[in-house]
């Protein structure tokens, strides 16, 4: 089984709903679980294939940024 990919998104920068939507968006690429610490939204992702590991983290980060910007403008996807 592939090692989980650990991502964290600081709560003062990213919105929790935005991170959740980003995780849902890329759920087809791996088994994704969400959590949180005091400071961060935590995403743990086990990629379906090792070849998508880097891409999964990168794309999920971009999407979390996109969703956060939209949400800060009052738009929910």
């Amino acid at each position: 089984m592939a090692e989980p990919l650990a991502l964290r998104f600081h709560k003062s920068l990213y919105l929790g709903d935005a991170v959740r939507r980003a995780a849902e968006r890329f759920a087809a690429l791996g088994a994704i679980t969400l959590g949180e610490s005091d400071a961060d939204w935590l995403v743990s992702a086990v990629p379906l294939r090792e070849s998508v590991r880097a891409r999964l983290g990168d794309e999920l980060s971009n999407h979390a940024l996109f969703e956060t910007i939209l949400a800060r403008k009052g738009i929910s996807t």
Partner: protein, 507 residues
Amino acid sequence: MMNTELTVDPRAFDRKTVGYFRYGVVNGQVLMTNDVGEHLFLDPADFHRFLAGQIDRGEPLYDQLRRRYFFKHELDLDGLADKLRRKKAFLLNGPHLHAIVTTLRCNHSCRYCHASRADMDRVDTDMSLETARKVVDFAFTSPTPVLGFEFQGGEPTANFEVIRFVCDYALEKNRYENKELLLSLVSNLTLMTDEKMNYLLDKGVMVCTSLDGPADLHDKNRGWMEKHSSHAAVTAWMDKFNAEWVRRGFDPDLFHVDALMTTTRHSLSRGPEIVDEYVNRGIRSIHLRPLNPFGFAVNTWKQIGYSMDEFLAFYKSTLDYIIELNRQGTFVQERLASIFLTKMLTPDDPNYSDCRSPCGSGSAQLAYNFDGSVYTDDEGRMAAHMGNDFFKLGHVDTSSMDEVLKHPTVKALAVASIQDALPACHSCVHKATCGVQPLHNYMFDGDIFGQRPLSRKCQEFYGVQQYLYQLLSTDTDGSLQRIFRRWTIQRSRPGTTPYVPASEVTS
């Protein structure tokens, strides 16, 4: 979407005099635009003086900035509100364009076709006369004063009985409704007969077909299920229609078969030949349309697809050729350029559904599938065919126009296409003259809110507008602007509105 290649100092900003505007860089000059589509080029030094409130009243530049509503303290509020009202006039009407899929059957199998087609024996995908009547009744309940029916497919003439019924019924009904009625047909023309042609001409139905260029290119793109040339069949009917319009005494510049072309990889090196094919057939408008990269098998895309950079190179060189023809006295316009130029150079907006804010899906146009289902537009219908009913708004048996217009999907599409709320769009220099089509985002990205910097449609629209402004910025003698302004003049056909084909995706 590019970064701003200009260094600014936000501290040197005079909030008392600087009005609202957006800016970018074109050819080393600062392009300023505003909400009503006005634009002005400034050299960077003048731009910084403007920001700092240092343009003196006595300078010619002061008056140029004032007349274009860039000065906050000099705003003519009523004039600006009037201009904005005119620019956004399309918001005040209901759906005016009603695409009717008379059948899914088609005798072509085009390599890039997204229309959900069926084989010619699938008569179960034909619209019934009863459904057609309900579609017409439903469409007439739109509050719009201009009502257009556009027949699509499949190949719509495979079910000509419904075309005939809709035309007759709509014309009869309009004797009492008194709308401005426009009838149009999008057809590959290969099932045309003299009898059908004469009927269409009698009823004033404008015809739009597909023509991808010279015979070898057109036939390569089109998988006709006959052994002879699709190009030969199409062009023969185009010539016949056009001759008949003339014989009946109509102005050939207004009354002729229009055509849409789709660019494949095979087209990229053949721009001038494609334009010549159009011009030689008397067609004065050509829309250089890129492929929409969804729904293809990977191998097919490899054979006919291309990057947006490759398309834009093709577009620019072909546009240059079209401009050169105009300089030599041959009038021909590129349609996407005309749409943008109308927004840039005139007080009006051409109300092009794919390039509006908010978009026109479900609010300016509707599509009716053969079974009477109502969709936001033809792309929404295709999305449904691919398994997503999000874009289905109702059914002519059970829904009212009011229910359709207030459908949550219509609202969602509007929200997803209001550029003032979209990151990157809201501050883009081309915002006032651009538009967003959430269905493109959905088809490409699975999400009606696409990430604009990654959107091919954004890259296309940004690239085309940037190039048009680039050309305008070097037009020192005004000769190009005279050509461009002529492209923005829409002459109405008597009794009709200017013909704007809705079928930007179907072949």
